[in-house]
């Protein structure tokens, strides 16, 4: 990480006598929001590689059962369960959240609202340290007796609460502790984000002058804060069930396992929006810049997002339609689930309307942003099938569900991240990225991604169940065409992983030899583009004042087609 970050050599405070910092205080124990953003982002990306490696190992086992997987070895049934469980856990809690929410949140909020840092820099640093600790605890669970937890990322009891079923007494506890620590880290981070965005805006920046991505990250943090509480309580109860012999989730001793499912999904569903909203925000920043057009319906989008946030608290039980919940409740939750697709569909239309009639440049960030809208649409539409409780009874726990949520999470966590990363790379590191390599990487990721998950929809409709280690045990699911499809999917995964090397090569090469970035290479309006690339400590020599909204592109009667927020009229 160290060499990836060029030294912020300019000293904005001029005469303050800014002394040279040691390696430790600059990169490891820094309280600077940009450095903490980098720490979150690179930790998240490292965890992403670990999660991808897990996907590689279990996909190989599914395509070629019983094979010695290169670099991993033989995948035993217990290993398989640990791998799928931790793949899910890592990709959501240790990749999507740190990169999208904490990484972009830390980097963008102070820069976009025009202040010098987060309001609580030391709490910010502490939140990263707790996050790092949680990642270490999770990874350590692979090396404890019994192995890592393998009861699926939703951790339903009794599989998670009783060692006689999970066979991973320590792994289960490590998993719960890691997740709880991660929540604490993001609660602290989230309070920091919200307070900063509310209180530290640049003079002149009114509520409707805030860039959409900041709104999105703030609303996502609020959703997280308001939904995670019951699960924190639930995690304490689960931990006590595992280690103190309580019976909160044991119906034979007075508890109730469905309670955990409710506690989990009361958080778990808003969590989808916690990671979706930052990704939607990132694309909302990119699309107007490369379409050179004012963002369509700024205020409408904000109201839509508020509505989505509130609605997202009313849909959680659609994950439990076949868990034996009250059927009357299933009716209500079907209606709310179908309702929540309305605001999200509206967002897609707003993005398309922004593109309409613009002068579009298909640069790498723009390609990623457009791919986000297109791919997420497929994820959203297939969600409507699953949200209807009647259809869900057939589809539940098949690969259809799996393909559906990968079509939502891949656009969010991977496409959204790459869109933002390639867009803000010049601001983060002061150099431009290679556009040609970027496009190779883009097509090399998007085409195999569709080759992986479209066949899985088909397999799911054919009845292929999730969480099965070796389909040869089920003759109905081991038909030749099904096995061939699984092989095709695994090969597509290998191709996609191979193309990620292009990305790493591109980052490495651009950091060394990339063209120096100017202050505002994309001719964008928002405040982060008015300071140096990369911004020095304190972000601006003199903090900016804001005169207008963030999306004034191609305003008639102006020479330039953009109008920076800090430019007096």
């Amino acid at each position: 990480m160290a060499e990836a970050v060029p030294a912020g050599s300019q000293d904005p405070h001029g005469g303050h006598g800014h002394h040279e910092q040691s390696f430790w205080s600059k990169y490891v124990f820094s309280t600077d929001h940009k450095m903490i953003a980098m720490q979150y982002m690179f930790t998240g990306m490292a965890m992403g590689m670990i999660g991808a490696f897990m996907a590689y190992a279990f996909r190989m086992q599914l395509a070629f059962p019983g094979m010695e997987v290169p670099l991993y070895g033989l995948v035993s049934p217990a290993n398989y369960n640990s791998l799928v469980t931790n793949h899910g856990t890592i990709m959501i809690f240790w990749v999507a959240m740190p990169v999208l929410l904490a990484g972009f949140g830390n980097f963008l909020i102070p820069l976009m609202i025009g202040c010098d840092d987060m309001v609580f820099p030391r709490i910010n640093r502490l939140s990263y340290q707790i996050f790092l600790l949680s990642a270490i605890v999770l990874l350590a669970s692979f090396f404890v007796p019994g192995g890592a937890f393998g009861g699926a990322w939703t951790a339903y009891p009794p599989l998670s609460s009783e060692a006689q079923y999970s066979l991973t007494p320590m792994g289960s506890s490590f998993w719960v502790v890691a997740v709880a620590l991660e929540f604490v880290a993001f609660l602290m981070g989230g309070i920091n984000f919200v307070t900063t965005a509310m209180n530290s805006r640049a003079p002149g920046m009114k509520m409707y002058d805030i860039p959409i991505v900041v709104w999105m990250i703030v609303i996502a943090s609020i959703l997280f804060m308001a939904s995670v509480g019951p699960l924190i309580a639930g995690a304490i109860m689960l931990f006590f069930d595992q280690n103190l012999g309580t019976a909160f989730y044991d119906p034979s001793r007075g508890g109730d396992p469905i309670l955990w499912q409710h506690l989990f999904w009361f958080f778990g569903h808003p969590e989808v929006y916690v990671v979706l909203l930052p990704a939607l925000g990132v694309t909302a920043e990119i699309i107007p810049v490369f379409a050179r057009k004012k963002f369509f319906a700024y205020k409408t989008v904000l109201y839509t997002v508020f509505a989505t946030g509130v609605l997202s608290f009313t849909v959680w039980a659609h994950h439990q339609f076949i868990a034996g919940i009250d059927p009357r409740m299933a009716n209500i939750f079907t209606v709310t689930t179908l309702l929540i697709s309305v605001p999200i569909a509206e967002m897609c239309f707003v993005y398309i309307a922004t593109l309409w009639g613009g002068s579009i440049t298909l640069s790498t960030p723009m390609l990623w942003a457009l791919a986000f809208v297109a791919e997420f649409l497929i994820g959203g539409v297939t969600g409507i099938f699953l949200g209807a409780s009647g259809a869900d009874i057939y589809m539940h726990d098949t690969y259809f569900v799996l393909a559906h949520f990968h079509y939502t999470f891949y656009p969010i966590a991977i496409v959204g991240t790459f869109a933002g990363f390639t867009f803000w790379f010049p601001k983060m590191f002061g150099r431009m990225m290679d556009d040609r390599l970027g496009k190779i990487h883009f097509w090399g990721s998007i085409i195999p991604f569709n080759c992986i998950f479209i066949p899985l929809f088909v397999l799911g409709m054919a009845g292929q169940h999730r969480r099965i280690f070796d389909f040869n045990a089920y003759p109905d699911l081991a038909l030749p065409w099904m096995q061939h499809t699984r092989e095709f999917v695994t090969i597509a995964l290998l191709v996609m992983l191979a193309f990620q090397l292009v990305f790493f090569y591109n980052v490495w090469k651009s950091l060394r030899k990339g063209e120096k970035a100017s202050k505002n290479p994309w001719k964008s309006n928002t405040l982060e583009w008015t300071t140096e690339s990369p911004p020095g400590h304190g972000n601006w020599a003199e903090l900016p004042t804001v005169y207008r909204g963030p999306y004034e592109y191609s305003v008639p009667d102006r020479e330039e087609d953009y109008w920076p927020q800090n430019q007096p009229s």
Binding site: S252, D256, D326
Partner: protein
Amino acid sequence: MSDAHESHHGNYWKIWAWLCALLVVSVAGPFLEIQAVTLITAFGIAVVKAYLVAVHFMHINVAKRYIVYLASTTLIFMLLFFAAVAPDVMQEDGSNWTKPAWIAEAQTPPTVHGGANPH
């Protein structure tokens, strides 16, 4: 801290005396051994006490309006959680499941002061 803070200090000892009086009532309530009275003195008074603390000690009414909205929104979410979860958790049996321990407990009358009862 700011000028809005100048005038909001009331007589805190008076509020404290009220809180203590309410505490006495809520402890005394169950001695009447009427369940409705117990519930009102226990939970009705808890709400009144919480209101007194929130308004007079935490100054929630002096703070910005959105703080009240924020706190009440989280409370409403909790009510929603309760309303949607209670129908499942409070049932002894549903479609394809039963809770044997709950049914057994309902059938055997419990013994008051019966010591530890592991199951």
